[in-house]
Symmetry: C2
Subunit: 215 residues, 2 copies
Amino acid sequence: MNPAPTDASPARTAPSVPAPTRREQILREAARLFAERGFHGVGVDEIGAAVGISGPGLYRHFAGKDAMLAELLVGISGRLLASGRERRAAAEAADAGPAAVLGSLIDGHIDFALDDRALIILHDRELGQLREADRKQVRSLQRQYVELWVDVVRALHCGVAEDDARAAVHAVFGLLNSTPHLGRVGGLPGRDATAALLRRLAHGALAALTGPARH
Amino acid sequence: MNPAPTDASPARTAPSVPAPTRREQILREAARLFAERGFHGVGVDEIGAAVGISGPGLYRHFAGKDAMLAELLVGISGRLLASGRERRAAAEAADAGPAAVLGSLIDGHIDFALDDRALIILHDRELGQLREADRKQVRSLQRQYVELWVDVVRALHCGVAEDDARAAVHAVFGLLNSTPHLGRVGGLPGRDATAALLRRLAHGALAALTGPARH
DNA sequence: CGTTGCGGTTAATGAGCGTTAACAGATCCT
DNA sequence: AGGATCTGTTAACGCTCATTAACCGCAACG
């Protein structure tokens, strides 16, 4: 199954990064291209060219163009959910309150938004291009992730209705996922500063969930 | 130019809505379909069928599929900017402070987000499908709208850097534009309640712009 | 009453593109 | 050595789909 028995290669020292396999190269480039020009806007030849092979050579690694998108979307959705669960478990193991759990969820999501911008774009832009089965799986993972947040938000803000909490969580996702819309990396004041800004905005939005009505 | 000289038709009483012209029907249905399945995911035959004519009949009204998308995106961008300018002018004419101006901008944007969900989706999903000239125009309108917000935000929060303000404005747009991602109209607690919730979240986020650093 | 033009129709065209076929050079295992 | 497998290649196929061509009814109008 794994064509690379060890990392025995022209590797100079010890590659702490285990040398990206061809599949991973393809997925990374495909994600970048899909995010730039849309799933239908990029042809298989371009994806191939981006990794140095051309056109139909991709079919040695993937069943088709759809399969690449599916793997990307299932992957990011799964990692988001896994990260969220780990963070909640870790915070609860440390006897932290709901506020700390929520803070950790926010931090984790910010990491994804800043480090996997292409996937963040794809994951709600191209969901409709998936085959029914894959789409259902991605939606299921997304829904579980949302519900994880909803539970934490409601634990923190006891009074809020479930629908309001869910809408607020979606809104905060929209807020945190906004960084891809900032032209490339141009206007961003640096990764850490951006993360800090997003963190404050997200906490501010959620803090307003309970409180005096506006207007 | 206008084929309907008056609204003399089997109109029962006085149609305060001026009877949608064919072009408008097409644009509305195209917007809905594009938002549902993506620009490339819907064919001209489907758009035609949605308004009762079939296929190439659309070319009597539009130069091509691209032209429909362009008109939709330029339209929504222009209306957003116009609305924003009007609201600022109105608020300033009433001698309102920056806080009131910002509140009016938020209210106006919420109206668009809730009433033109399809266009809100399209306007940052399918920008890349436009011809260069149209894309530049839409981007210009969007940029002016953003800068309008940035000015108001900076007037209200004197200390914040321009880049931070811009990032925060983008983030608030992401927050306000999140409603389309709530499955159709299902989990929404009613239009007014949703608007109120979004208003509170947006104000909360922006209020956090200046204040104690998180963590 | 012609005729002009608007708003349709169906059939044909042609490009783009995902996918498959057929073939070939390594590398590895025995 | 010699097949088997993995990973490429180029050429061909076939389908989808936007766009154009050619044709037509019909309302307005002089």
